[in-house]
Symmetry: C2
Subunit: 125 residues, 2 copies
DNA sequence: ACGTTATCTGAAGATCCGCGCAGATGAGGA
DNA sequence: TCCTCATCTGCGCGGATCTTCAGATAACGT
């Protein structure tokens, strides 16, 4: 299981080791890093990304609309949405036989916004 | 190869089909969604997440310091950093025999910040 | 109650990806 | 020049994940 050499090496007696200690304190623990990574991982898929940006624009869509919009089989969309919902990225609402999905909260929206800027794309300008 | 039924179904003659057309226009194309997804995917890993948050706090770290901070073999860190660098998430700077890495730009920093809030963690307050 | 429509679920197959090891490369110091 | 330290690279294994098919479930309209 992952053995990591103790603090010898380039940080041995260096003033750097102080810095390392500082970093250790601020590095997220396994639990938190896990949550963070999971959130990112969920967005890290072309299909899911498209769906989420669609929801960002329109606000609310049912499965078959999503399917039509991103050109993906409905069953696949359903699976994807289940995944996103289980992780709290989206919420859903039933209306008759349709189920409408929407982004769960403002954080997710902000996240998507920030990243679109990073890619250099101009969304609604 | 992904066959998707045309626009029949629930959007057949509905006023909804209009909405679908709207969504189509705003959904990122394959190229853009690909970039976005790749960025997210890079962050979607516990190890990389930890490293990036470490860099967010301290600003700059060499491979062996990162290795010590997140307790991961140096070779693995090196590989990870190469991956992140190739995608423009981090930058590096050589000083003697050490190579210092830092977050590439403000967008990445903002991204990490936004997400830490989403998880409900208080970083430096 | 029946058929249709919209959505969900389970399972299998193929693919992809991260991980660590061992050796190679590059930069300094004596 | 030789030796040491920091970092990089190639390879192979194990594990996780996406995709899709086919059938189940739920909600309508008649």
């Amino acid at each position: 299981m992952g053995r990591v050499l103790p603090l010898d090496g380039c940080v041995g007696g260096d003033p750097q080791s102080q810095r390392v200690a500082l970093v250790r304190a601020s590095v997220p623990d396994d639990a938190e890093a896990g949550s963070l990574a999971e959130l990112f991982r969920l967005l890290g898929d072309v299909r899911r990304t498209k769906i989420l940006y669609a929801l960002l624009e329109v606000g609310e869509l049912c499965v078959c609309d999503i399917s039509a919009a991103v050109r993906v089989p409905e069953a696949s969309v359903s699976q994807t949405m289940r995944l996103l919902r289980a992780s709290g990225v989206v919420d859903n609402r039933r209306e008759g036989r349709r189920v409408y999905y929407r982004l769960a909260d403002a954080h997710v929206r902000m996240l998507l916004d920030v990243c679109r800027e990073h890619t250099g794309h101009e969304g609604s300008r």
